[in-house]
């Protein structure tokens, strides 16, 4: 319930969020509305964030499907990424996502030789949570193998010629963010607005606008998330204790569903790190708004299906 203030402005509070009366199903995705969530400092009997997370994202007739592939060999003990393994992970994810047995055919479902493809990845030098080059290389190689010439592929963070592009691949990392709540695929397009800082206020609730810009709208064919080493800390600066080798890649087409899955992943990891509920703040309103206001996809974890492939240890979602 929203309280109507005397000045006629609506004020959403923590109470509204906790009882699921604000921001749609975000609270469910984060595990805040589950009866055994143990919000009181994590001291409630039976606090088990992993089992709670596994009850979500198992829709039988999903509105959105997300493929998660993990491989223990993707990142070594020195946090070095194995490019060959990353390529194999991407192939496995694409085959499962499309139902094709052949990798090239899987990619041809989304891209034609005459397409001009923009690969929008995340490379934030300050945060140092950026897409690994192995992921970018694997994508460009598979585009080439499926018939899209190198000249027609533009991979960049800033500077993707989005107006020229007929197709986009959104390639973000996963990063809990002190202003946005979480930064994954929705936030990855913030550069396209040319007004990045203006989107940071009010929990970045308007991030969905970037997806509806005339030069962007309808062009995103695939979302490939680098989940090799996500970041779950509060930020804004990197504390290495808050980054972990998850060794995963996610593939999907629904940015809201993708971000919701990643939100749950980071929320669960935070709970495990502290041994109690450590709620991501501020609430990632951009996800809820992308669902209900901008209609970019679904944030309801009961309408999303996550298909897990490969290494299952500590998958968390």
């Amino acid at each position: 319930m929203r309280h109507q203030r005397e000045d006629k402005h609506e004020a959403v509070t923590r109470r509204d969020f906790l009882k699921g009366a604000a921001y749609g199903t975000l609270g469910v995705a984060m595990g805040l509305n589950l009866s055994c969530s143990g919000s009181n400092g994590g001291t409630a009997v039976g606090f088990d964030p992993v089992s709670m997370a596994k009850s979500l994202f198992q829709a039988e007739n999903p509105l959105a499907q997300v493929v998660l592939v993990r491989n223990e060999a993707a990142v070594d003990s020195n946090h070095v990424v194995n490019a060959k393994v990353v390529g194999e992970m991407l192939d496995a994810a694409m085959k499962t996502f499309t139902g094709e047995n052949d990798v090239a055919k899987a990619w041809q479902r989304y891209f034609r030789p005459q397409d001009t493809v923009g690969i929008k990845f995340t490379r934030c030098s300050y945060h140092r949570i950026h897409v690994d080059q192995a992921v970018i290389d694997a994508i460009t190689a598979r585009l080439a193998a499926s018939g899209v010439s190198k000249e027609r592929v533009h991979a960049n963070d800033y500077g993707v010629p989005v107006k020229e592009c007929t197709a986009l691949i959104n390639v973000p990392t996963i990063k809990v963010h002190s202003l946005t709540g979480i930064a994954v695929s929705l936030k990855n397009y913030i550069n396209f607005t040319g007004r990045e800082s203006s989107y940071h206020h009010d929990g970045s609730v308007k991030l969905g606008e970037a997806w509806l810009l005339p030069e962007v709208k309808g062009k995103t064919r695939l979302i490939i998330v680098d989940a090799l080493r996500p970041y779950f800390g509060p930020g804004p600066q990197i504390n290495p204790l808050h980054q972990w080798d998850y060794k995963g890649i996610l593939v999907g087409t629904d940015p809201v569903a993708i971000d919701t899955v990643c939100l749950r992943l980071c929320q669960t990891k935070r709970n495990l790190f502290k041994g109690e509920e450590w709620v991501i703040t501020p609430p990632p309103k951009s996800i809820a708004a992308a669902d209900t206001q901008y209609h970019l996809g679904t944030s309801d974890p009961l309408k999303i299906k996550v298909v897990r492939l490969g290494w299952d240890k500590d998958a968390l979602v």
């Binding site: 509070t13 009181n40 400092g41 002190s178």
Partner: protein
């Protein structure tokens, strides 16, 4: 003593005097943290050497260094940032960031932003973990980070930290508001000190609006307490005047408790979602809020402890 020797003595005295004046000026500048900030950082440490040009950022261009992250520093009275990199052959790069704040209270405040890591003895407070060393002293908050961690890297970071601590001549005082935090049941590493809703939102989401009228002029302490193995959260806000505190308290009651009463009680405890209890109290220039208490008694216990201490705390 011959005149020649006397002359040498005068010269020596003059040199000593000039040196003392120069050192005094250096110490003053270091205390102010102005353009002599680079002198807080050594050229070399443990085999690593300064590489490339130092970078300096102010409130006007901090976003050039940390796009999308500068808001957290601007929420404090951040003045200037000095960045220097250190290189060593076949070793990870080290990055030193020295943040000059307007006050030691704010240096402590930004230090308290993220407290995950192992507490160590350095400066006026330090935390180390996985190749990241953070500490504060005087008006400076310092982050020293390595690209990757090893025992050698850790020792280099600690040595660098020690040199910086030695170069900052004076300690600074902690925020006086911290004295109002009761020691009983306090989880020390949970303390955060800040001013604005931007910081509050990072640590604890309360509402979309600025429900407590927080601003750069407000001092806020957030901390967790444990009683009977159950944790709760204290939010203590200190305003400039009792009138500001009362206005914030009234607004909080209206928005958070949906209170429409003409007169707001100055102390209340309410049961809210998930069976948790929330306490709210206005006392002088302070608003005392307790969240996530397991029962009414715990809520009242912490509220009363804080109220007893708040009276004696100056701004």
């Amino acid at each position: 003593m011959t005149p020649a020797i006397r002359g040498t003595g005068n010269l020596a005295r003059r040199l000593i005097l000039m040196t003392l004046i120069a050192l005094g000026g250096l110490a003053q500048n270091a205390a102010r943290g102005d353009e002599t900030m680079p002198q807080l950082l050594p050229k070399n440490v443990a085999g690593w050497s300064a590489a490339g040009e130092d970078k300096v950022f102010t409130r006007n261009n901090i976003f050039e260094y940390m796009d999308g992250a500068g808001e957290i520093y601007l929420a404090y009275d951040f003045q200037r940032l000095l960045v220097r990199e250190y290189m060593k052959w076949s070793a990870p790069r080290l990055v030193a960031e020295v943040y000059q704040m307007a006050s030691s209270e704010d240096a402590y405040g930004i230090f308290s932003h993220d407290r995950d890591g192992q507490e160590i003895l350095l400066g006026q407070g330090a935390i180390y973990g996985a190749g990241l060393l953070r500490f504060w002293k005087g008006r400076f908050f310092v982050r020293l980070q390595a690209e990757s961690e090893s025992e050698q890297v850790k020792q280099a970071l600690l040595a660098l930290g020690k040199k910086i601590v030695e170069a900052v001549p004076q300690n600074g005082k902690k925020p006086p508001l911290l004295a109002a935090l009761p020691r009983e049941g306090l989880i020390k590493e949970s303390i955060h000190f800040f001013h604005t809703p931007v910081s509050l939102n990072v640590h604890y989401y309360l509402a979309d609006s600025n429900v407590l009228n927080l601003s750069a002029k407000t001092d806020v302490a957030l901390a967790r307490y444990e009683r009977d193995k159950r944790k709760m959260r204290l939010l203590l806000c200190r305003y400039k005047t009792p009138g500001e505190a009362e206005a914030a308290f009234e607004q909080f009651n209206k928005i958070y408790f949906h209170d429409r009463a003409a007169k707001t009680p100055m102390f209340r405890v309410e049961k809210v979602e998930k069976g948790e209890f929330v306490g709210a109290q206005c006392m002088g220039s302070s608003v005392i809020l307790v969240f996530e208490a397991a029962d009414r008694a715990s809520c009242e216990w912490l509220s009363k402890l804080v109220a007893a201490r708040v009276k004696g705390v100056s701004r």
